[in-house]
Symmetry: C2
Subunit: 149 residues, 2 copies
């Protein structure tokens, strides 16, 4: 897989991903470890909650999105290094049995003024379920090295 340097990114580029099935057991295991709230752990409690049924922790969706990105064709040299996000939201819950995939669009490419060997790209990554509905959207700035001369 070819690694991408700052020079390889252009505004408007879109990178896709494979798909990842979200099993109920994985939702429960993540919630137990990191987000032990009733609507992520228990069917009955979840039904009575604002989610109306068992839903994955948003942080689980974020972690699964990272997994999809790492395995995708989006391969910045030096790794996927998010220095900060300016937006992160979950417009729709992720349910047991959902299958997720991502699309990442390059919104901006800029050189670093202080460090000539690198730059930043601004990327919006949207995570979809199997009905092509948005379940997570974030826009982040990633550190990308320039191609060594």
């Amino acid at each position: 897989m070819t690694r991408q340097y700052l020079e390889d990114f252009t505004v408007g580029q879109v990178f896709g991903s494979g798909r990842l099935l979200v099993e109920k057991d994985a939702i429960l295991a993540f919630a137990k470890q990191f987000d032990p709230q009733p609507y992520h752990l228990d069917d009955e409690a979840a039904r009575k909650s604002v989610f109306g049924g068992l839903a994955a922790s948003g942080w689980h969706t974020a972690a699964l999105t990272m997994r999809l990105l790492v395995e995708s064709d989006f391969k910045p040299a030096g790794g996927i290094l998010g220095v900060g996000f300016e937006e992160l939201r979950w417009p729709r819950p992720v349910r047991p049995g959902d299958e997720l995939y991502t699309k990442s669009e390059v919104l901006d490419v800029r050189s670093s003024k202080s460090r000539p060997d690198r730059g930043l790209i601004r990327v919006r990554t949207t995570t979809f379920n199997q009905h092509d509905e948005e379940v997570q959207i974030y826009t982040g700035n990633l550190l990308v090295p320039r191609r060594p001369t």
Copy 2:
């Protein structure tokens, strides 16, 4: 533990948390499952990376922060329900053996215009290591029900 309704939140309130030790094994296990990049998985590769040593995935820090919040005195009725974040960044890596804790400050409290039974609070949560250095900062909007009349 008393649950907090919209009426219980005021601008400037600060909620603390307990502490959570980040073991090396946990960093590796999280990375293997969700963020399999060399600097989160391998000491040698990490030393040569921008991190200069093994570092936890930012999403691991975010997930651990959620765990700290759920176990803290910050107990919005209906749960900790983030509808979206406007900022999320990791100013410093989390290392094996770090001990994390959080501080959450209420920045804004407002009623919902469309749904009189609820409102939104804007909260900035900072995650610190054992040297009181910031390792994660995010500002999010949380859904909170009004006290039932």
